[in-house]
Symmetry: C2
C-alpha cells in the first residue's frame, strides 16, 4: 500500500505569499498547497474536468519566474509568487463570457456612494436639509433612478432617507461645509459620511454552510475580493446536522436564540478577520449577502424552523429577506442591509438558487443538470424554458455518517481509493488514515464494482464467487465476521488507531441507498421534463462534495448518469458565489429573485411514481 | 361696566352627556358650555360668520326635545341631550360637499385590515408561510393593489412584510388554524392578529400646538370620532414659545431629548385618555398623524431645530416623515406608523399645510386668502393655479406678550371690548379680569379707533385732542403717567388684582406693528399674484386666534383687508383637521404631500419691497 501525497497535504507548514492576477488578491498560504487550492481559498474557482488529478489541462496558469504555464492542480506553492490566471482557466468567468456578460458590465451593485458638495442654504435657497440632500443625490444619479413610490419608515416620495439619519443632517452639513458622501441602497440613503469617502464601498458575501461558514470581503468599487475567511459553523456543537439543530430549537426554550446567536457571533468573527486582513473599517461594509440551505437561512434570521422538519415540510419564508444589520447584531454598518437569498422550498434554499445563478442555467438554450450533494441531494434540471428542482433525502452517507468507519472530509479521512494489483489510497493531510469520507466511499464502491468484488445488485461477493482475475492479496481482503462480510481497505498496521478500516456489506448498502435516492431524483426530473440522457448538455457538480468526488467513480456507481467526463464540470462553492454575485450585480440579484419564483419544485413525496423509480435506481450499473 | 357672561364661562360645573348625530360622538361636558363649544371639542367645526355672537344663524342645530332648531353658539347645555347637526351647519362638510366629495368616498385610509382564512400547507401546497400570507392578502385586496417595487427592511417584491413579523408567522398560523387578521399600511403588512379583528381599526390625529396638544381618536371603519382629549403642551415649562424652546435645545446638552420626551409623554397621556373614554385597546391604534408648526414637528421627531432659528432659517426636513411608533416611544401599536405632515419652510409647517387642505384652496377656481395668526402669521393666497404663502414675524403681541397687561386667552383675560357710552368687556370664565388677550386687544384698539381716541397714525389722543362726542366717563379713562399716555380699560376696583387694566400708547404701537407685519404679508402675496382685494372670494381665519377674534375688529384695525363679513369664515383647528383628513383619506394624504411641494414660499426677508409695504401698512385705516 502506498500513501499518495494528496493535494490537501499540510505536513509542511511554511508560509508564502501568493498574489493572484489580474484579481489583485494577495494571500498568505501554508505550504504545501497546490495553486488550485490556494486559488479556491481566495474565491477563484478554476476549471477542472479531471477533478484536479492533472489529466485535463483545463487549469493552466502562469507563475512568476516560470517560462511555461503550469497546471494549477499539480503545481505547489513553494515560494512567494505571483500567479496570473487567464480567463480560459476560470470556471466562473468562462461561464459569464459564454453568456456574453463582461466583467465590467457585471459590477453594478445595489449599493452606491456619491460624494456631494452641496450649496449651503441661503435666503435665495431655503430648501430643507433633507430636500437639499435628496435633490443633490438625484441630480447626481440622474432623474428617476432612485424614484420609489413607497416610503415605509422614511421620508415620503423620491429617494428615501431614514428618520434616524435625517436627525443627523443639520449637524453634519454645518460641521463639514456641506461636503458629504452618501451611501445609497436601492433608492434609500441609509448613511452619510463627512467629506469624500466615495472610494470606500465594501460588501460581504457569505456562504452559511451547515458545517463551514465562508465570508468574502468585496471591494464594490473595483469588484476585487480583498479577503476571505472561513470558520466552522459554531452551531455544530448544538447539533451536527440540520435536523438536530431544528430539534434543538424545540427541545430548548431558547434554542432558536442560541443558534442564531452562534451564527451571528461566527459572522462577527469572520468580519473582524477579513477587516483585519484588508485594513477595511467594518462600518464601511454596507451590505452582507448570505446564502445557505433554508434552515441555515432561517436560523440566521431567528425565524422558527420547526415546520421545516414536520410534514408537509414548509419554510416560514421563501422570498429574499432584507433586514438592517443592527437588528441582527451583525457588525457591519448598523444601518447596512443584510440580504438573505430567496429559497424555493423547505429543502431548496438560497444555496441551490446560488447553484442555478452561478451556472446560469436559466439562460441556457441547452438542457443542463446540476447536483449539490450533502445530507440531501439538491438537483436542478432544465434550460431557459423551464427549470425543475427537487431535494432527495440521500441521507448523510456521503458525509461519512451511517458508514461503519465513515467520517467527514477531515485530516485522516481516506478520500481516494484505487484498486488494481494493490489498494492505493489518498488520505487528507497525508497521514495514517482513521476512516473514510464521502469521496473515498464512492471511489471504493466504484473500484469494488469495477473489479467484480461487488455485483450489480450491491452484494459483496465472497470466497469462490470472487473473480479469478483478482490476486490473492486482494482476495484476502474480503473477510467475514459475525456482522457479515466486509472488504479491508487498510490493514490495522497502517491505520492510526491500529484497527482495520473496512467497508462492510452494510456500508455498501448505505452508499447504494444514497446514490439511488439521488439518481431517482434525477430520473424523476428527467421524466418531468421528458428529456433523455443525450439531451443533457452538461452536468454541474456543486459544493464541497462535488468538488472532491471523482466524476468517474460517481458515474461508475450510478450516482450520476452515464455521461462523458468532458460534460461534467465542478462549480465549487456555488452558495458563496451566488451570494457574491448578488452583492456585485443588481441584475443578478433580480435574477436570483426571479429564479426562486421560476424554479419549479417537484415534491418527491407527493409523487406516486417515485418509489418505482427509486427501486429501479437501486442497482449498480453493469460494467 | 358690565361683565358679560361669555361663552367660555365655566363657573357652574354640572356634568351632562351630549351626543352629536349623525356622527355618533358622545361626550361629557361641564356646564355651562354652548353647543358650539361642545361640538368644537368633539372635533366638529360649525359654520359661523358672526364669530359666535348669534347674528349670522349659520350654526342652526336640532336639540332633542325642542321643536325648533336653535343657534349652537347661543344655546347652552343644561341637561343630557342629543344634538343633530345638519350638513348645512358644518363648516368642513359643507366645504367637502362643495368640492363634490361625499363623506363615504372620503373614508379611504391608508390603513386596512383583512380577515383571512388561509388554507393550511399540504403536500399539494407547499408555499412558505410568508408566501401563503402575501398571496392571500393580494387575492383579498385585488391584484396589483399592494404591489411595490421596493423592499427596504422587509421581504422583497409585492406586498411587504417586516422581518420581525415573519418570525412570528409559523406559530400564529399553527396555533390559530390559519385564521388571522392582517393590518396593512401602504403595501406593507405590519402586524397580524389571531382570529377576526377586522372591526377594530383605529387611528389618532394630533394637533401638536406650541401651547395645546389635541388628540382625536378615529374609528377608521366608520369614520367616526370616538374620543377627543387635549392637554397643555408640557414643553411650555421648558420654553414658552418656539424660539425659547429652540434656545433650550442649544443651551442644554440634552435639551432636544428633554423636549422630545415631554411631547411623547404628553401624547401617551392623551392616548391613554382617549382609549379609556372609548374602551379601545391602544395597540389597535395603528397610525397617528401629527401636524404642528415646523419646530413642534421637529421636536416630536427629535430632529435638531437650531437652524430654524438662525439665518437663513431652514428646516432639517420639510417632506412628510413616516416612522414606526416604537422608535419614538409612542404608545400605539409599536409597529404602527407615525405620520408627520410635510412642511413648506422653517416657518410654514404642517399646520399651515393643514389650513390649505382643510379649506381646499388648491381646488378652488376662485382666489382665497387664509390666515393663521400666532407668534408668526402664516398666510396663504391663491387658487388652483398657484398658491403662495409666507410667514410674517408678527411677534407675540396677539398672544398677549409685549403688551403691558397682556396675557394668553386663559381665565381672567379680557376677550371682548365694546366702547360706547361705557366700556363693556367680556372676560374668559366670567370672572374679574386680570389682563387682556389677543382678541380683546384687537377689539380694544378697534373701538379706540372707532371712537376717535386713537388716530390713524396710531397715536392715543389726549385732553383737548379727544373728540367732543365722547362722554366724560370715557374721556376720563385717557390718562397720562411717566410712561406716557394710556387708556384705562378696567378700573382697579373691578379687577382681580386691584390695579387698573390699561392699554398704553406702547401697547397700541405693539398691536400696530403686529398687524402691519401680517397685513404687509398679505399685500406682498397679493402683489406676487397680482390680485386685487375684489378678486379675493373668501378669507379663512384659522387656529384658535382666528376662532376668537372678531372679524369686524380685525378689519377695523387693518389686520385683514376691508372685506364683507360674509366673505370671512373661521376654519377652527385646521392643523387637527389636516391631521384627521390625512388619517382618513389616502387621497387627502396625497394632496397634503403635493400641497407642500406646490405651496410657493415667499421669503419676505429676501424681498426689497417688503420694508416699503410694511411702512405703508403701519397706518390704521381711516373710518
Amino acid at each position: 500500500m502506498t500513501i499518495l501525497i494528496g493535494k490537501r497535504d499540510r505536513l509542511n507548514m511554511n508560509s508564502y505569499k501568493v498574489t493572484f492576477q489580474p484579481d489583485g488578491i494577495q494571500m498568505t498560504v501554508n505550504a504545501p498547497i497546490t495553486l488550485m487550492e490556494a486559488a479556491q481559498r481566495s474565491g477563484i474557482v478554476l476549471n477542472t474536468v479531471c477533478g484536479g488529478v492533472g489529466t485535463c489541462h483545463k487549469c493552466m496558469v502562469k507563475v512568476s519566474g516560470l517560462p511555461e504555464p503550469v497546471r494549477a492542480c499539480q503545481h505547489r506553492v513553494d515560494r512567494d509568487m505571483t500567479v496570473t490566471i487567464p480567463e480560459s482557466s476560470r470556471f466562473f468567468e468562462q461561464k459569464i463570457l459564454q453568456e456574453g456578460i463582461s466583467r465590467d458590465e457585471q459590477l453594478d451593485p445595489l449599493l452606491c456612494k456619491h460624494y456631494l458638495k452641496l450649496s449651503p442654504s441661503s435666503l435665495e435657497d431655503l430648501r430643507s436639509d433633507t430636500t437639499r440632500l435628496i435633490d443633490a443625490v438625484e441630480d447626481h444619479v440622474g432623474p428617476g433612478k432612485h424614484t420609489c413610490r413607497d416610503h415605509s419608515g422614511s421620508v415620503s416620495g423620491r429617494t428615501r432617507i431614514s428618520w434616524d439619519l435625517l436627525r443627523k443632517l443639520p449637524a453634519i452639513f454645518r460641521n463639514h461645509d456641506y461636503a458629504v458622501t452618501v451611501v445609497c441602497h436601492s433608492g434609500r440613503i441609509f448613511t452619510l459620511e463627512p467629506g469624500d469617502t466615495s472610494d470606500n464601498l465594501f460588501g460581504l458575501a457569505v456562504d452559511v454552510g451547515t458545517t463551514t461558514v465562508v465570508a468574502q470581503l468585496i471591494d464594490l468599487i473595483s469588484g476585487k475580493t480583498l479577503a476571505i475567511a472561513s470558520q466552522t459553523n459554531p452551531q455544530v456543537s448544538l447539533g451536527d446536522d440540520v435536523i438536530r439543530r431544528i430539534e434543538y430549537t424545540t427541545s430548548q426554550a431558547d434554542g432558536l436564540e442560541q443558534l442564531q446567536h452562534r451564527i451571528v457571533e461566527c459572522l462577527n468573527h469572520l468580519i473582524a478577520e477579513v477587516c483585519k486582513k484588508s485594513l477595511v473599517n467594518h462600518e464601511q461594509i454596507y451590505e452582507m449577502t448570505a446564502a445557505g440551505n433554508a434552515t441555515m437561512q432561517h436560523l440566521l434570521l431567528g425565524i422558527p424552523v420547526e415546520q421545516i422538519a414536520q410534514s408537509p415540510y414548509v419554510a416560514a419564508v421563501s422570498s429574499a429577506v432584507n433586514v438592517p444589520a443592527g437588528s441582527l447584531g451583525i457588525n457591519i454598518h448598523p444601518e447596512g442591509n443584510i440580504y438573505v437569498l430567496p429559497s424555493v422550498a423547505a429543502h431548496i434554499g438560497g444555496d441551490t438558487v446560488g447553484v442555478a445563478v452561478t451556472t446560469a442555467m436559466q439562460h441556457s438554450e441547452k438542457i443542463n443538470l446540476a447536483l449539490d450533494i450533502g445530507t440531501n441531494g439538491e438537483i436542478i434540471l432544465g434550460n431557459k424554458d423551464r427549470l425543475v428542482t427537487c431535494s432527495t433525502a440521500a441521507g448523510p452517507a456521503f458525509e461519512g455518517a451511517r458508514i461503519g468507519q465513515g467520517m467527514r472530509g477531515a485530516h485522516g479521512a481516506i478520500e481516494r481509493v484505487k484498486l488494481d494489483e494493490e489498494v492505493k489510497i489518498a488520505v487528507i493531510g497525508s497521514i495514517q488514515p482513521t476512516g473514510i469520507c464521502g469521496s473515498g466511499l464512492i471511489d471504493a464502491v466504484a473500484e469494488l464494482l469495477r473489479n467484480g468484488i461487488v455485483d450489480y445488485t450491491g452484494r459483496l461477493l465472497t470466497g469462490d464467487e470472487l473473480p479469478d482475475t483478482l490476486n490473492l492479496e486482494i482476495k484476502q481482503r474480503v473477510v467475514e465476521n459475525d456482522k457479515g462480510s466486509a472488504f479491508v481497505l487498510v490493514r490495522a498496521s497502517q491505520t492510526k488507531h491500529g484497527k482495520d478500516i473496512v467497508l462492510t456489506q452494510r456500508d455498501i448498502r448505505e452508499a447504494q441507498l444514497a446514490k439511488a435516492a439521488i439518481r431517482a431524483g434525477i430520473t424523476t426530473l428527467m421524466n418531468e421534463l421528458e428529456v433523455q440522457l443525450e439531451d443533457i448538455d452538461r452536468l454541474f457538480l456543486a459544493g464541497a462534495f462535488g468538488n472532491y468526488v471523482r466524476p468517474e467513480s460517481a458515474r461508475r456507481i450510478g450516482l450520476i448518469p452515464n455521461m462523458k467526463l468532458e460534460k461534467i464540470q465542478t462549480v465549487g462553492n456555488a452558495a458563496g458565489t451566488g451570494a457574491r454575485l448578488s452583492l456585485q450585480s443588481r441584475k443578478i440579484r433580480q435574477e436570483v429573485e426571479s429564479l426562486a419564483q421560476e424554479l419549479d419544485y417537484v415534491e418527491l413525496a407527493g409523487r406516486t411514481d417515485f418509489q418505482n423509480i427509486f427501486s429501479e435506481c437501486m442497482f449498480f450499473p453493469e460494467a
